[in-house]
């Protein structure tokens, strides 16, 4: 009874607050309406996302799709053709895609009530991240304003964490946001070692004696699921298995979080035995078996570059260099962070990778085209090519370098999105207070 009263009271307060503050910009900007008419961005340096850079180029789009892309265009664009935005001196890039993220699932790390990223239990293939994705997260606008326009939202708990979804970051609700409601299955591969101590004072590792059993349990679960589909009709439905349908016809991938090289080899053997498509996630040691990954065509969603080496004797800059090594070996990989608010720095992770082995365009691909390919969305997003979604960002300078990376405008499927956020508002509020800018 008491609780209900409390809820009512809060509700009343909320209404009051809404009325009172209606004059202020909302914390989360209003989603942009559908694209009206044609839009041309002219005289820009366009980074296509597939390695090509077009100088003095024009890109045009209509109904959310790219319809025009030319370097030194033969036609002259003017207001009669649609909305023309002069982008002289500007850089245009495909919208950045954050993979393996919990944006929208977690709002404040330390506040339990705001965390919807990890369900309890060991095998949860049927939980779907898309239904928890919060379009009104205060975090999302801070990602968009840095150029991150898409996210693969992935669950994290147990051994089988659940099914990921892919969203665009300017939406009214999760249905509206979904690019792909059910993307792939996320798995945490068991670890051969367990950490002792606690987060603030870690005290080493111990051998995980249950490793073999945990792997066997996982394998059994997959075998049972496979058998479930081969058998066909069932009196009793297994919701978990039902959610794994697409794995065995390879229409969906299994994303496996794994870091230690030996475990990775176990994962590969596991996938081959079960006949499933896998993507390695985090995969800090992946550079050690880059040739194997290239040969077997196993993609990698690589964990952050801004990380310390795993091993004491390892190259102290190894995490910076790993993308370059995967690139060189011909592995399909993308760079990820694996977090939420931190995703606004994804372009700088790529920048560092560029300082240590990638070209700038390769580094860009690692956060645009490559993730799209890994999620099999490259026919829609990831590059700026005719027929694809007009999801792009206009930067005042080099996107990958914080010194110059300033996103001035952004479009998702032709919709020009509002790049404001609460942090910008607070900046303005207090700059005004002090008379500085």
């Amino acid at each position: 009874m008491k609780n209900i009263k409390f809820v009512f009271a809060s509700f009343a307060l909320a209404l009051f607050a809404t009325n009172y503050s209606s004059a202020q910009a909302p914390d989360v900007p209003v989603p942009a309406p559908q694209q009206q008419g044609k839009i041309y961005l002219t005289n820009a340096t366009i980074h296509v996302g597939n390695g090509k850079v077009l100088q003095n180029a024009t890109i045009g789009f209509e109904n959310g799709k790219i319809t025009f892309l030319e370097e030194n265009p033969s036609i002259k664009t003017d207001a009669t053709m649609g909305k023309v935005i002069d982008c002289t001196g500007k850089q245009i890039y495909p919208g950045i895609i954050a993979t393996n993220t919990i944006v929208g699932l977690s709002e404040i790390e330390a506040v339990r009530a705001t965390n919807d990223n990890a369900e309890v239990g060991t095998f949860n293939p049927n939980v779907r991240s898309i239904v928890s994705y919060n379009t009104d997260s205060r975090v999302t606008p801070t990602l968009r304003s840095n150029g991150v326009l898409y996210a693969q939202v992935a669950p994290q708990g147990g051994l089988i964490s659940g099914t990921s979804g892919v969203v665009q970051l300017d939406a009214w609700n999760w249905e509206d946001a979904a690019v792909k409601q059910e993307d792939g299955l996320f798995i945490n591969w068991p670890s051969m070692f367990r950490r002792k101590g606690w987060w603030a004072e870690p005290s080493g590792f111990e051998l995980n004696k249950d490793y073999d059993k945990q792997v066997a349990d996982l394998k059994d679960y997959f075998k049972d699921a496979k058998s479930y589909f081969e058998v066909g009709a069932h009196e009793k439905t297994n919701l978990g298995f039902e959610a794994m349908k697409g794995l065995f016809d390879k229409s969906k991938s299994v994303y496996v979080s794994v870091n230690y090289v030996k475990e990775m080899l176990h994962v590969i053997a596991f996938a081959e035995e079960l006949g499933i498509n896998i993507v390695l996630v985090e995969a800090k040691d992946s550079y050690m078996i880059a040739d194997v990954l290239a040969q077997k065509k196993i993609p990698v969603i690589l964990s952050k570059c801004h990380d310390l080496p795993t091993y004491d004797d390892e190259d102290i800059q190894q995490p910076y260099k790993t993308p370059g090594m995967l690139q060189k070996a011909g592995v399909l990989y993308c760079i990820s962070i694996g977090a939420f608010w931190q995703e606004r720095n994804l372009m700088f992770e790529a920048g560092t990778a560029s300082a240590y082995g990638l070209t700038k365009e390769e580094a860009l691909e690692a956060i645009t085209y490559n993730p799209a390919k890994i999620m099999k969305l490259d026919n829609q997003i990831g590059t700026l090519e005719k027929g694809k979604e007009a999801s792009l960002i206009i930067s005042n300078g080099d996107l990958l370098d914080m010194k110059t990376s300033k996103i001035e405008q952004a479009f998702i499927s032709g919709r020009q999105i509002d790049l404001s956020n609460k942090q910008k508002a607070l900046n303005e509020k207090f700059s005004k207070k002090y008379g500085v800018n």
């Binding site: 080493g204 310390l308 608010w341 370098d401 914080m402 700059s431």
Partner: protein, 998 residues
Amino acid sequence: MAQVFRPIVIALLFLVQLSVFGQETTFHRNGPDDYREGVHAFINATIFKNYNTKIEHGTLLIKDGKVVEAGANVSIPKGAIVHDLKGKFIYPSFIDIYSSYGLPDPKKQPGTGNPQMETNIKGAYGWNQALHADYSAIKNFIADDKKADELRKIGFGAVLTHMKDGIARGTGAVVTLANDKENNLVVKADASAHYSFNKGTSTQDYPESLMGVIVLLRQTYYDAEWYKGLKDKREYNLSLEAWNNSQSLPQIFDAVHDWQNILRADKIGREFGVQYIIKGDGSEYQRIDEIKNSKARIITSLNFPKAYDVEDPYKALWVSLEEMKSWELAPTNAAALAKAGIDFSLTPADLEKKDDFLPNLRKAVKYGLDSTIALKAITYNPAEFLKVEDKVGSLEAGKLANFIISSKSLFDDKCDINENWIQGKRYEIKAFEPKDIRGTYKLAFSNNTNYTLKVIGDIAAPKANVIITDSIKPEVKVTYKGNDITLAFNPEKKKEFNKIFLTGTIDFDTKTWQGKGQLSNGDWINWTAAQTKGPDADTTKAKKDSTSVDLSKLGKVTYPFNGYGYEETPKAENVLIKNGTVWTNEEEGNLTNTDVIIRNGKISAVGKSLSCAECKVIDANNKYVTSGIVDEHSHIAISYGVNEGSEASSAEVRIGDVINATDIDIYRQISGGVVASQLLHGSANPIGGQSGLIKLRWGYAPEKMKIEGADGFIKFALGENVKQSNWGDRAVVRYPQTRMGVEQTYYNYFTKAREYGKALSSKTPPRKDLELDALLEILRGKRFITCHSYVQSEINMLMHVSDTFGFKINTFTHILEGYKVADKMKAHGIYASTFADWWAYKYEVIDAIPYNAAILTKVGVITAVNSDDAEMGRRLNQEAAKSIKYGGLSEIEAWKLCTLNPAKMLHLDGHTGSIKAGKDADVVVWSDNPLSIYARVEQTFIDGIRFYDSQLDAQKRDDIRRERARIIQKMLDDKTAGAPTQQPAPKGKNDMTIGDEN
């Protein structure tokens, strides 16, 4: 009941009967007295009277459990029992200086999981449960023959026993390992006082860090001194009484885990005029010069690490080169101590298998330890350390008759200890090798049958045959013990049931055997065997000692002892950096085509076209040259425990006590251009601990990393961490739990400190309190606060507290809502050190904005970006550059956020933070604009010493690969040879624990 009781009674009787020591006793005896004088003469032995006096063909005479005389010409009294030890060796029995023999195992109470602020020991004891100064080993000692036997077997005759539990461990007792009533075993009842860095079974929260342990010891020294001077003892304190009473004894400190702990223990001792005897863990060789400089005598272990099972190269990843090198070089430790002239004792205490002690000792000798010093380290030194050298450790007249008899020199791999005599009583370890009966004999039966008998092979297990023809040589089974001998053989193989059995006695003088025998038909005969020829000369070639070690092929000790260490610590260079783009951080601004000269550790000139004849030239064309990065907020390089968060204030703890000079993150920081860091206490409590300001002099000892003459700083913290908001539902005990309580915590402590300060200048000064001393320093403007802070209300609050008490806050660190109170901070002249763009990790950072640094800067607050994180610490240039993106600072302003401004906050800007002649040569050469994501560090100089060089780094990686491969081969050889191995596993950074694990 009776069943339990009976064995005890029997045991007691047994003990009393064994009693040999001391003529008079207070004990009543059941039955007639059985006092024996025990006069024994051991002759013809090689006697080590002490570790460096060797007597060939000597005699040792003992009586009544003591040595009468040992020498070459000792007259043997009439009636003495004579033991002919021809070919044998006598050594003083060894002394284990680090035992807990005969003491009960400390028991830990199961923890409740709830905070425990006070001791749970009842009685008039001290305030902290980890202080057991009142523990007396002698009062708890109960002889344990089974345990004693383990040590006797490996040559030990006496031990120093003490309780290995807690930070102060009370007194130890020297006892012998004889099987006797405890009263007769005591060599010295109160022989030593013991300390350690491990709180052991204590369940009290304080201390929870190594720095907390150190300060608890320091404070206890002060408390004990104060207590001693108390005229009116209102507080009677058993712990402090005992502490004071044991100060005149040898003081022994257990400082295991790494060599740095030895230096830490020694530093505590220096403060109080105590020279500890320090127990190390066998890694002293990794920093032998510093250990030597401590002047401490060392107790160390021969607990050599097992080889790793590295057959799987992927598993081998988890074994660092440091661990590999430790495996290879641990056996050189004792030799290194000896070579450095450090007095040390060796203990078997840490060995998993005590039987490994002597083989390991011999291994140490093969790895360069002089055998005389080895002997000294287990005989004289432990005795002398404990001031019982008048009783044990050598075989001079009047000392206890504690000695071993061995078959060979102790350092011969084939040496057996035959007997261990303790207090004149014999303990047989391994029977003497029997006398030699090998040779050719004429075996004659009384029935006139004769055989030729040939005895060959090992002396201890000879083989024999009767020679009938060259090809018919039936085997004879020979068994003999003492003078008894039996022979059994079948002279005709063809016939079954034809064995002849002989039994007789040996006359060793005439080399003849004789006795009776029974033939297969049951007839008895007499027989004799007379030696006709002695044993054949030993033709088996002496096996080449396969275990000899080529010391020149061992890896080198590096500083620090890991892959990225240096064989020689780098020294300052004179360098001319030519034609760079120099960012000065001075009025000159950013200069192109400019030269910088580094000379004698300082920047000596900045300008165009400079020349320097003695300088090494670095071409900086197309490169950038800046002063080094300063990290205002770092937690790298701290040994065990960043937080002493058990109480609301831990102002007394000092990060400077626990600097970990071996942390690989130091090297990783310098690869990112960092030259100096403030190592901060954590944010677990409102008043944290004192900071350590270091320059990242990779390869140097901890004390040499500290910045000389730097001001003292202290960490404060506000908000969720100090309220324990995110520590789980049980963390609701410690005050404060709200921001209101946080304010009152400060009022409470500063009020106390102010009153303490007044009292100090009064006629009756109060007890010295290290916590209040630190707070008083703040009030007196001698210690400076860096306060972890997030929301504006609390920032404002602390400024009011400081106004009230009249001190100045130096820096608000993190300060994510600093932009909301920038004007107030400016008015107070407070610095801001912030994260560039962190937020959303907890509720109190919900309003954090990446524009914070820019707003603060524009308002006029001196602002820095900090890392709080070992990874981000090496990219602070990038974090500074974010202020260009968020808030539009100029490059010059942005660059100061990670260099000059943090240097100002740490009061180091007179020495570092800009490129200016006369400043420390803390200089970084970059491949690109240092604020660009594409910039890489090429060289980092600290005080003119090139600690990082990207090309040398590549070289190091090559070296690591080769050195790993070499040792892996060696480990695999060891495994193939059957040596035990251990499985590789990842290690945490802080594997040391200061509490018992359970």
